[in-house]
């Protein structure tokens, strides 16, 4: 079996605060993994350490390894720009750039040296189609991306992440700011994405985790309490705390 992401003995500190404690999980290629757990337990922190966005946080210390395709991304030789191209990220709140819809999508490819207008046009159309946004915005590609709805903005941000052809997609509660219809669209999308990508998604929505993920990791105050197939976690959890959480007894 091939593992795309392999987190080994990961410990993370924000100053003195021990935010992640001995995290060990292996994530299969072309699967959807859900991170669940109560607020403040370290899901976003763990997600952000996979593309090293935690580097932006001053006095954040990290020990341990994360292997992507068997290379430790915390090795000093790591090229961060390439790492983040390989592991794209979608944030909790849609954050389109204050540019046109077209330029939002083309921004990533342009960074990675694609200049040809025809190729860029193709990438923009392909990325927008894959998030089912093309038909909604094709007539206003040159209008500001800030002028479309929140759900459209979030799909735009997913398209923007796809445009740089990542292999891993990290999503931090991508639907928490969206209406039910947009949520369903994004959930469907995640299922499609799994064919080509490895998806890791943080969610507070148990049904969502159960619907779309293959494996689930349950976080509790910086630890992973249980990591297993989603059906096992939801039907037959090993740990009492997992059971309490998914049945809504706390969290």
């Amino acid at each position: 079996m091939s593992f795309k992401v392999d987190i080994q003995n990961l410990n993370l500190y924000y100053g003195d605060f021990h935010a992640l404690k001995d995290i060990n999980i292996k994530i299969r290629k072309n699967s959807v993994t859900a991170f669940i757990g109560p607020s403040g337990c370290g899901k976003s922190t763990c997600l952000k350490s996979i593309n090293r966005m935690n580097d932006l946080v001053p006095n954040c210390k990290i020990k341990g390894k994360i292997l992507i395709d068997n290379q430790n991304i915390y090795d000093s030789r790591t090229n961060l720009n390439l790492l983040r191209k390989r592991a794209g990220m979608v944030f909790q709140r849609p954050n389109p750039f204050p540019m046109s819809i077209y330029d939002n999508i083309a921004y990533g490819p342009r960074i990675h040296k694609i200049k040809n207008k025809k190729i860029l046009d193709e990438i923009v159309e392909k990325s927008l189609r894959s998030v089912y946004l093309w038909d909604e915005v094709k007539d206003r590609l040159n209008k500001s991306a800030l002028g479309i709805s929140g759900g459209q903005q979030q799909r735009l941000c997913i398209a923007r992440a796809l445009a740089v052809e990542p292999q891993i997609i990290l999503m931090d509660e991508p639907t928490s700011a969206l209406d039910p219809l947009s949520t369903i669209k994004i959930e469907d999308l995640v299922e499609m994405l799994k064919v080509n990508y490895t998806v890791i998604i943080v969610t507070h929505n148990m049904q969502q985790a159960a619907r779309i993920s293959d494996t689930t990791a349950f976080f509790l105050s910086g630890n992973i309490v249980e990591y297993a197939n989603t059906s096992k976690i939801f039907n037959n959890p090993t740990d009492k705390r997992t059971e309490d959480y998914i049945t809504g007894r706390f969290g």
Partner: protein
């Protein structure tokens, strides 16, 4: 418990009304002061305006020469050259301080210092500029000395205002770009600076206003000469009075109604100049910031 009193029972609160009244009152006062100054100046200045006035030379001896062309040229020289120095330095400093420098004690004390500097009376800058540029560096009383002095005057304003603009760019833009694999320089130049551009241009507008309106700092450094420029480049090294200093001088020496009108006409030109420079700056801001 039942309580079906009518909902149409909105009460007017006295304090709300009083507050509203005060707001209207202060707005009216501000606007009317502003308008009366403008109208007063235009009323007295416009009759004296002519193409000849802005296109001919001036002389304190020959009373047939009453134009302001040299002053207009000097003012444009000083505005443009000062901005040429101050804008790149100021914006680069603001970018460095907000995006690159480690946010610690040093940056805090630099911020504190710029804040104090922007409040220092410009005479002091004038005295300093005179000593350093005119005397020690040997530039003499010249437009260049004036520009360097004005650069010191406006730098704190440009740095502070641009810094605020840069700091108010949402962090999520930066994160979004970094998560796509963009390098630091790209993020700064392509995402952060464009998002802050209108604030940065505001800082330039403020600087222009300060330069055009300056008198004390330039009196010492660029001087009071009113001769026509002889060469485009060599003019930088000669003394030249700006419109504001000219206004000061003509108003001070005015003893006839005619010479007063001349001062008002100069003031009118100053107002028009400031207006045009503002329009140019805000047009640029609109062109650059499309979204």
């Amino acid at each position: 418990m039942k309580n079906n009193k009518s909902l149409y029972n909105k009460k007017k609160s006295i304090s709300d009304m009083l507050l509203k009244f005060l707001i209207y009152l202060s707005t009216t006062i501000t606007i009317s002061i502003f308008l009366s100054i403008i109208i007063y100046i235009l009323y007295n200045g416009i009759p004296y305006l002519s193409l000849k006035f802005i296109s001919t030379a001036y002389s304190e001896i020959d009373s047939s020469l009453k134009g302001i062309l040299p002053m207009l040229i000097n003012t444009m020289y000083i505005v443009i050259i000062t901005l040429l120095f101050a804008v790149p330095i100021g914006i680069a400093s603001a970018i460095y301080l907000t995006q690159y420098a480690k946010q610690g004690k040093l940056v805090k004390s630099i911020r504190f210092t710029t804040e104090i500097l922007s409040g220092i009376p410009s005479v002091i800058f004038g005295l300093f500029g005179y000593t350093i540029f005119c005397v020690i560096l040997g530039l003499g009383t010249s437009i260049l000395s004036g520009c360097l002095t004005m650069m010191l005057c406006v730098l704190p304003t440009i740095i502070r205002t641009s810094e605020e603009a840069l700091l108010s760019v949402p962090k999520s833009y930066k994160e979004g770009a970094i998560a796509l694999g963009a390098g630091k320089l790209r993020v700064v130049l392509e995402i952060i600076v464009p998002s802050a551009i209108s604030g940065i241009i505001t800082s330039i507008i403020l600087a222009i206003g300060r330069i055009v309106g300056e008198s004390a700092a330039l009196l010492y450094t660029s001087g009071m000469a009113y001769n026509m420029p002889k060469g485009m480049f060599s003019h930088i090294f000669s003394s030249g009075r700006t419109l504001t200093l000219h206004l000061y001088q003509t108003a001070k020496q005015a003893n006839t109604p005619d010479s007063f009108s001349q001062a008002f006409a100069t003031a009118t030109i100053l107002l028009i100049l400031v207006f045009i420079l503002n329009v140019i700056a805000s047009t640029i801001s609109k062109i650059v910031k499309k979204y």
